[in-house]
């Protein structure tokens, strides 16, 4: 139960982090240039700079298993490999114990082939992780699985070494108070 206190404390300490909300897209709102001018630009949340996200240390401490957030897939495969079962089980356990936390599962693919079909394949990977988590007791409401397809490669190279890095699903956390990685 003490687990719940830490995020709250951390959250209270870490103020002023970078997630500025997007301008609301309502009907009739004029489009602003999103060319990165600081006043109107999209607030970029990148996977690297998230230490100030207000998440408990056990999720971010490199020594903790829960800091491992990526699941890699074989070519043309959409099943969570044996090597990642422990990892998925650890996250499931954490989410079952901390119902206030939510995760965003982002599926990715390598660059070959149709962008839209790859988007669907990335979804299949995110979905495989989601199914594993729900099987282990995590509630549907805690999980959203989405796909980035081939659009956000971790490795921008054009060889198998790069592609294997991009056949991946990432787990992003968000605490009950809304702070986190997405």
């Amino acid at each position: 139960m003490k687990k719940l206190l830490i995020p709250a404390l951390l959250a209270a300490l870490l103020v002023g982090c970078s997630t500025t909300p997007l301008p609301e897209d309502s009907n009739g709102a004029p489009v602003e240039s999103r060319s990165g001018s600081s006043s109107t630009g999209v607030a970029p949340v990148t996977a690297g700079g998230l230490d100030a996200s207000g998440l408990p240390r056990e999720l971010t401490d490199p020594k903790s298993k829960l800091s491992q957030r990526s699941i890699y897939f074989d070519l043309d495969s959409y099943e969570v490999k044996g090597d990642y079962k422990d990892l998925v089980a650890s996250h499931a356990k954490y989410l079952v114990a901390n119902k206030g936390f939510k995760v965003l599962l982002q599926g990715n693919t390598d660059e070959r082939g149709s962008r839209e079909y790859n988007l669907a394949l990335g979804q299949k990977r995110a979905e495989a992780v989601k199914r594993s988590l729900t099987l282990l007791g995590v509630t549907e409401a805690q999980i959203e699985s989405v796909s980035l397809g081939e659009e956000k490669p971790k490795d921008a190279g054009h060889d198998e070494a790069a592609w294997s890095q991009n056949r991946r699903a990432d787990i992003l956390y968000k605490a009950a108070d809304g702070r986190g990685e997405f």
């Binding site: 489009v31 839209e116 989405v146 956000k152």
Partner: protein
Amino acid sequence: MKMNAMSLFFRFIFLPFFLLTAGFAQAQLSIEITGAGANRIPVTIVDFPGDPAASRVITSTVRADLERSGLFKLVDHNGLALDENAPINHADWKGRGADALAAGSIARSADGRMEARFRLYDTQKGVSLGGAAYVTNATQLRAAGHRIADFIYEKLTGEKGVFSTRIAYVVKARGQFLLQIADSDGQNAATALTSTEPIISPVWSPDGGRLAYVSFEKKKPVIYVHSLASGQRHIVANFKGSNSAPGWSPDGRKLAVVLSKDGFSQLYSVNADGSGLQRITQSSGIDTEPRYSADGGTIYFTSDRGGSPQVYQIGANGGDARRVTYEGSYNVSPRPSPDGKSLAFISRREGRFQLAVMDLASRQVQVVSDSNKDESPSFAPNSRMILIATEVGGRGVLSAVSSDGRIKQRLTVAAGDVREPAWGPYFQ
């Protein structure tokens, strides 16, 4: 000999975001012709008397359009200027090898606008094929040139021309994604949207006024509809999970979309304002890339329900899906032609992703490109050309290929990768 003229006032569309994009001037498309038709029609466009600067813009636009189409061969006009009422020595032009000739004039009207008049002649038969007059403001002379080129193209080939149409595409440059609109010749590029996150799958509404596309600015794919004239946009689908692959119904009222809210990617239809969501497919695999057939009755899409991605066809409201492609283990991105006769798609053959065209009546498939990484085909509204994204020298470029594979043009942007092309409808 009264000219059968029609007067046309262009309603020009102002894109407010124009002003914000001065810095992307280098994102202009340049076009290179890499293949032409076998039998090109020899045609001469003489200079138009009147305002010389305006004449130069208009006639050079007409000549470039006709040449680029791959269906015409320009016969030198020897610097000659002739207005639309000048007598034509047909035998002489015939002797110089021109089967057709266009002459015209440019006049400035009282309110400062320009009027371009022209007439087209068949030198073989020695007759006029008709003419037209276009009134435009001085900054839009190229548009008048495209209209004249369309007229000539239609008279001489029997098909409607597409020089006055526009194309949309995405440029990736310096870590930014620009959704751009340009004339079909790559000129007049304007940026409709700039984002630090990817933009994919733009598609034109049938009236040419709006674009639907997928933007990742919310950290996940979300579908927007964007009115080009006003710059206003709204979300059409932002359900839990991914929202992608929009395709307009021919009446412009609905969009076929792909949502993962119920698990794997499946097809749904939704009204253009985001209301009235209906599920179309019920499969245990992936269904994506929906495109309505020209008559709106069916939807072509990509599915892996048979173990590999293939093109299927289903009723617009669902039902049983029928498989359409059989050759090879990767056939994706189906695009039915506007005339309903053929289907363009991307086929993987020996590791190469190539543009293929199927004749829907005979089911015969022909590979029409010789590149390796073709993506996102898009038909011109006259069904003759297909715009694709491909790669040359590691850079993303656009390529236009005729549906028989004979004529090829390449469109590049100096400063970045071009991708995700979408050819707009006829000028309205």
